[in-house]
């Protein structure tokens, strides 16, 4: 193992999430072959790479949807490897999964309420709801509609809002740009920036490398279950290799 190519320096921050030598396998197929990454307090970290490179598996392993084969995951120093998904939310981690994971048979309001499933503070929930409506006013108009009737962009907004309803300190986002029109993507990424500025750390998985690296403080490039390259977002964006492979230039 030669290890990933490291481009540029990283601004040091308090570590929030640490992943060491994470391995994941689906039956006989190995999806991750030992991934290490870290995310600091208040940081936006992007994972980019092609379909099937292992981005989603990484997120799933971190959030407990998958049991890793090997490796260690710590959140604020606490070992969370192999913990069940529903026990991680109280630790301040929320995951907006691939394909948005909206409950299409529930109303928008119910989806949001489910985001706050573990919370009992009605007032806090209400104020968080208001905050979401501030980010995405359209959701307020659709509150009573079935989530299945929303457009793709609205569903993505709902997914992000719902993840925020648990007041996470770390938000895992899987392809928020998937299937969305450019203007909407821009809007969503703008709001992600706002969310980050309010103190939420974000681990972002994106295919659209341009968008992701523009937003991220730091980025990892995944290739067939391994980290091929790491570096600050802007540095990666400028690198020739990334440009060639992922930006089609």
């Amino acid at each position: 193992m030669s290890g990933p190519a490291v481009l540029g320096e990283r601004t040091p921050r308090d570590p929030l999430l640490e992943v060491k030598d994470l391995q994941v396998a689906y039956g006989a197929i190995t999806a991750l072959r030992g991934i290490s990454l870290s995310l600091g307090q208040g940081e936006v970290v992007a994972l980019i790479g092609a379909n099937g490179a292992g981005k989603t598996s990484t997120l799933r392993a971190i959030s407990g949807m998958l049991r890793p084969k090997a490796g260690k995951i710590t959140l604020r120093g606490q070992d969370i490897t192999g913990k069940k998904a529903h026990t991680l939310l109280p630790l301040g981690m929320a995951h907006a999964p691939e394909g948005r994971g909206i409950f299409l048979n529930l109303s928008v309001e119910e989806n949001l309420q489910l985001g706050a499933y573990l919370r009992k503070d009605t007032d806090g929930i209400q104020s968080d709801l208001e905050q979401s409506f501030g980010f995405f006013p359209v959701l307020k108009d659709r509150l009573q509609q079935l989530a299945g009737t929303l457009s793709g962009g609205e569903q993505q907004m709902l997914a992000i809002s719902r993840a925020l309803m648990s007041r996470p300190s770390l938000l895992l986002l899987d392809e928020p740009s998937l299937g969305l029109a450019p203007q909407i993507i821009e809007k969503i990424f703008g709001i992600l920036r706002d969310i980050n500025q309010k103190g939420v750390s974000i681990l972002l998985v994106e295919q659209n490398a341009h968008l992701a690296l523009n937003l991220a403080h730091y980025g990892y490039v995944l290739e067939t279950g391994e980290i091929a390259m790491t570096g600050p977002g802007k540095t990666l964006l400028a690198s020739e290799e990334v440009k060639k492979a992922y930006l089609g230039e």
Binding site: S63, G64, M65, K84, A85, H86, L89, P90, A94, H95, P97, G101, F103, L104, N105, L106, E110, Q113, L114, G115, Y117, L118, R162, S166
Partner: protein
């Protein structure tokens, strides 16, 4: 005309029971996508628990309001416990396995319960049917003509209880935090876990609820038909399953409508045409419904993504 009204009453009374049992079926199917073939047998066990409780209470106490409530509570609680045990030890270990394996397990449990209760060893009741105590003293509520049409108190009461249970269930599923969690688990249990929903607990609770409902339905059934016997769960379970499928399995009001429809169809077929064709008609009706609307009357087809 009198005949017709009487048939209508009979059919609705029978349909109510199907509907209630179908509700349990549909709920379990909703969260687990498992045809719980043991559901009818769990119902049978519930009726026996009620029977034993009533015997314990004795003749006077069993038909007092408190006594009846106690009987229902004990039976439903007992069944909830049985449901919990079945789910925990027989179904949960198989949740990620092919669905068929859980189905076979369900059949195994169904066999064990329905044949086990035919033994006359220990506390087991033996094969002979027993008269179910009159925990609701039958009185006539409505008599037309020279007893041309008779409506009994328990018919009304069981419809009321059934409606009550259905409404509360509907409330539970659609208006409460638990119900939201249940629907979320039903739709996608992986994502539900990401919301902090304890999926295992929700499924266990749903199972217990379904089993308790079965017990409640079973008691009403026993009041209606005045007897208990170990094989009673088999065909009621099957019919209730048919009702659930007709309504669109996984759909709460669908199960109710399916149950009532099945009860009425059977009643009128037996009453007005060939009485020996009851079962064939029930299944024929089912097949026609499915061929016209493959997803059941209220079900939705989820198209597979390519």
């Amino acid at each position: 005309m009198a005949d017709f009204i009487q048939h209508l009453i009979n059919g609705l009374a029978a349909g109510t029971i199907y509907a209630l049992v179908a509700l349990g079926y549909t709920m379990v199917y909703g969260v687990l996508k498992l045809i719980n073939f043991a559901h009818g047998d769990v119902m049978m066990v519930g009726v026996y628990i009620a029977y034993a409780t009533a015997k314990q209470l004795g003749r006077g106490a069993q038909s007092s309001l408190l006594g009846v409530m106690l009987i229902f509570l004990v039976a439903m609680g007992g069944c909830a416990l049985i449901g919990f045990l079945i789910e925990r030890f027989a179904y949960r270990p198989l949740r990620e396995k092919p669905r068929l394996t859980a189905l076979i397990t369900a059949i195994g449990i169904s066999f064990a319960l329905s044949y086990g209760f035919q033994l006359d060893i220990g506390f087991l009741p033996g094969a002979a049917p027993r008269a179910f105590p009159e925990i609701i003293r039958p009185t006539e509520w409505l008599v037309i003509g020279d007893r041309d049409v008779v409506l009994w108190n328990w018919q009304v009461i069981s419809v009321l209880i059934a409606v009550g249970l259905m409404v509360s269930l509907q409330y539970l599923v659609f208006k409460t935090r638990f119900g939201r969690a249940m629907r979320a688990v039903s739709y996608d249990h992986r994502t539900a876990a990401l919301m902090g929903i304890p999926v295992d607990r929700i499924i266990a609770l749903t199972f217990m609820l379904g089993s308790a409902l079965a017990a409640g339905a079973g008691i009403l059934y026993a009041i209606k038909d005045t007897a208990v016997q170990p094989l009673m769960g088999l065909y009621v379970g099957l019919k209730a399953f048919v009702a659930a499928v007709i309504g669109g399995i996984g759909h709460v009001p669908g199960a109710v409508v399916g149950g009532l429809l099945l009860g009425l169809v059977e009643e009128f077929v037996v009453g007005y045409t060939a009485s020996t064709w009851r079962d064939a008609v029930a299944f024929g009706f089912l097949i026609i419904v499915l061929l016209v609307r493959p997803e059941g009357l209220f079900g939705r087809i989820t198209a597979e993504k390519v």
